[in-house]
Amino acid sequence: MLEAMVSGFGHLMSVQLMGFMLLGILLGSFFGATPGLGGNLGLALLIPFVFGMDPYLGLGFLLALHAVVHTAGSIPGILFAIPGTGPTVATILDGHPMAQQGRAGEAMGAQLAASALGGVIGAIVLAGLIPVLQPVSMAMGSGELFMLIVFGMTFIIVVSRKSVPKGIVTALLGLGLATVGLDPHTGVGRFTFGQLWLWDGIHIVTVVLGIFGFAELIYLGARGRGGRISEVDVEMTHSQLWDGTRAVFTHWWLALRTAVIGTFIGVIPGLGGDAATWICYGHAAQTEKNTENFGKGDIRGLIAVETANNAKEGGSLLPTLVFGIPGSSGMAILMGALLILGITPGPKMLTEGQDMIWFLVFVLVIANIIGAAILYPISGYLGRLAQLRASMLIPGVLVLAGTGAFIIRGQWQGLVLSVVFGLLGYGMKKWGYPRAPLILGFILGPLAEDYLHKALGTMGPAFLQRPIVLVLLALAIVSLGVSVWREFGGSRESEERMV
């Protein structure tokens, strides 16, 4: 393991990689701090550009981008009460009242320091879990891996906070889309309709750009014409920034607790950032003394939320890499990038690709520290991104999305297909179909089919009788069954949730 750790660290010693990480951090800050864009769109837009890159370079760039998205996403939340990204909604509770009280700088300083600290602790906890999980990988055969994918998908459908049947439909749609193209086992053209360009299947970038990229553009354009997202101006001083930073270290025990809790919530696929931030906010409110100012500008509330928000990224990287089950929608897109770069996530990563895991741990640590350091002097300027007009944002992002959809295979059909997926993605967003299961199904589809054929080829249907397979199958049925029963059983709680 020490060898893998040294090897992983060795990959960081490259000026080119540091340059790409820096670019990723700047782009992540832009996408995070601009309300309506967000990290998923950033990843979707930039994945085409890592195609053909050295895997370490490409992943270093994308993970650095992803790592700072939430850090920057809190800036418009604190300054204007506009969440840059979803999980930063909880930041507004105490962050914005602080800004209203003339303590914007203090809030920003605390937010940046807490985010960096949370990100680093999350990465350290992730590193600590690697040796614990190594024995698990040894017990996994094709049958177990197939069932693990099935279980992982049911888990994400269940906890995706949407309707369970809708989650199932979108996951199956993703799995179905993954079968388009020549079947690798028989050479039969499936769903190709005689089109040569479909023989290689649909590219993950085409799907991701459509489902997240074009769909978000439609939403961005539909909700506002030319007006600014925010018209408010907030002033802050640099001395306030340092006061806020110091406060994080004064409340170090709270920061440590919420970072560890956030990391473990991130490990559970599908729970996502919202759960991590709200649970940690609740934890802080319950365990701290003199909490009467929580929700009115208490810096401890802000610290709890921000540490958890960044720490959970380290946690969600674990199921993504080790089990091939992304911990969040951002991780699902990142997993697509892994496959594009020729890396197949799964238990084998613990034996054959451990240096890559360590490399990503180090990237997380460095990106969080450098990201916060860069954001200190520019956070005030980034806050002004909330005042950008949609009429300027949309054409810029549209051009980038169109270019990405085309260059991935150099075919105009890919561009058309991406726009079609954009319409599908918008429909899903509009009518409450979760989009992450579709991406997950699309990514895991080929792996699931391959494992299924291998398991059937070696053991036949008897692979279903293996103990781990049976346990995973039972867990999948129970988790899905309980959720379906809750939704259709007419319970009062379910009714209230759906209305």
């Binding site: 506009i82 499936r190 439609i218 909700r223 051009v399 169109g402």
Partner: protein, 156 residues
Amino acid sequence: MKTRGETVFGLGLLLVFAAGIILSMDWSAKARLFPLTITIGGVGASFVLLFLGPKSAVQEQHDEASSDGADTKTKVTTRSELTMILWILAFLVLILLLGFWVAMATFIPCFMLIFGHERIRTVALFTATLWILMYGIFHIGLGIPLHGGIMGWSFL
């Protein structure tokens, strides 16, 4: 109570899965095992959702808008949705007909002027900057040829 759009969307998904079952019947048993299982499951789940499923997605849409960082105070109307979809389709058609470079030079100013009511000076500056940036990165820097378009090839 489901909205008409939601019902049509759900029905569309049901039909896609049903078509998948029919198409996969022609393949060998090994080739169709996985897609057939998925499409049968898809038909079942879509059917349940469409005819037995829970109420509309209004609350869910609100939740997702919030979680995506959107400003929920802003109202999205069918008209504004269609307008934006048409803008994107117009950009797509321009690319297919005239190619990326001409499409960018025509679409961006039109969009900013008509959709955003921007000043001409801002539009000119923004379009020129974006065009030069994209040309510099893709054409000169990376050497990636972007789509020239059906008509674009003839005059570029």
